[in-house]
Subunit: 270 residues, 2 copies
């Protein structure tokens, strides 16, 4: 059986714990993997704990008891969050993003693995004490953000569809009114997508009047779910009066000058 030196064990522990955030690994798992005594692993974990603090990566939590073990909780500091949000604003303000009709081309940002991973870590930081069972989003542009948030929280992702699909069995369908266009639209979710009475975090990429967000909340009622948080990447400053309250927004889109191609967007700072 392989023997591992201390610095190898520390390296392996860092990789294994940080690669699967919020997953509890038992001490037994590591004693077997490293062919080492439990007391040795405990000493290693102390070193890893300090290192994670020193690097400001989040927190290593040890859980005692029968289901005990150790897990890594990724957290971003306010400074890390603000730096990231400013860098994204700079990117959004680049020329050539304004699309006729007053829209902003955003898909390169919303589909960038690195960017959505950071957004996921921010949402996971902001809702860390909520004991979330599922991350819920609606197709399409919010899916990458939803997936990374779910990955960091170590819970399943649920994607609400805009049409019911034959491949998903019985579905719940609801109609909602888009707050910005006034049009009636449908969303659909498979009956078996979620257990009832779950705690859910709803995330989306963009909110204007909040019609879609309200629709998602209504959908969650049909599953007797408790919406313990809502995280949106960008909200528009107007209308001020949204159809939902109690959401966290990372960026505030204050305005857009189509002729000059100027985009006025700012982070919602801590």
């Amino acid at each position: 059986m392989n023997k591992f030196k201390r610095n190898e064990r520390i390296g392996a522990l860092m990789k294994i714990l940080t690669d699967k955030p919020n997953k509890v690994f038992t001490y037994n798992y590591f004693t077997e993997l490293f062919n080492a005594a439990k007391s040795t692993i405990s000493e290693d974990i102390v070193i890893v704990k300090k290192l994670v603090n020193k690097l400001e990566l989040g927190e290593i939590k040890t859980i005692s008891g029968a289901a005990g073990g150790v897990k890594f909780i990724p957290l971003m500091t306010d400074k890390q969050i603000n730096n990231f949000l400013y860098s994204i604003c700079d990117k959004i303000k680049e020329k050539n993003r304004v699309i006729p009709g007053g829209f902003i081309y955003m898909t390169d940002i919303l589909y960038s693995p690195d960017t959505v991973y950071n957004i996921g870590k921010i949402f996971a930081t902001k809702f860390k004490d909520k004991n979330i069972d599922y991350v819920v989003t609606v197709e399409t542009k919010g899916i990458p953000i939803g997936l990374e948030t779910a990955r960091v929280l170590n819970v399943p992702l649920v994607i609400i569809r805009s049409n019911s699909k034959v491949t998903e069995g019985p579905t719940v369908n609801i109609n909602y009114v888009s707050g910005s266009t006034g049009k009636i639209q449908t969303m659909s979710l498979s009956r078996r997508a979620m257990k009832e009475e779950s705690k859910v975090l709803v995330v989306d990429d963009f909110m204007k009047a909040g019609g879609t967000a309200k629709g998602m909340k209504d959908m969650m009622k049909e599953f007797k779910a408790d919406v313990v948080g809502m995280g949106v990447f960008i909200t528009t400053e107007k209308p001020e009066d949204k159809l939902v309250n109690d959401y966290i927004s990372l960026l505030n889109l204050k305005g857009l000058d189509e002729r000059e191609e100027n985009i006025n967007i700012e982070p919602n700072l801590e």
Copy 2:
């Protein structure tokens, strides 16, 4: 400035390198972060390299020259791939997955962050020498697989839409015939989604006759892209004659007995 002990540096290096697969970090980045000499970092990297081999996580590659540095390439061994695929087959064979009409409920698997991360690592392993610029998929169910494949390869994800959207500017739209239903459908991609003459990896969750895959290949022609690989999670055994060749499929769906709720699915082993 913080000083780091060797085991702390090894731990930090493992976290930083494995958290951003295929991203090149310069030696300068680490000498500054750790306040250490380049020779010290070089010794650390040798330890990390051996450790990554020992744990069968992939490969640490050092790149010399002006743009030089070090990166982590996640690779799965054949044994790791086969074990994962068998475990997924067991999950698919669980009762209650068969949906009237001969479909299989798969979204819990396709939206599981852990599962799609593994699928991403497998595709990244199989197409590791292809110098891929973009991972391309079509909405909706393939998006999580696409995102994790892109994240592991450290390239952007491109999502082809089923309708053109006002928020994406000028789009290229193509019609394609669904190989299984014979219906004509549309796919749409923003002109600015990709640079021309790129190398792309096309991924999707499911292929029956290959109509959608053929559509994606045709779409790529419109962007003068070179499709250097195609990875599909599940293909059906029939029809044997698909509309595309040159794809890698992870699972082979051999049959489905709707009455008995039996699903016959097997990994395509190495």
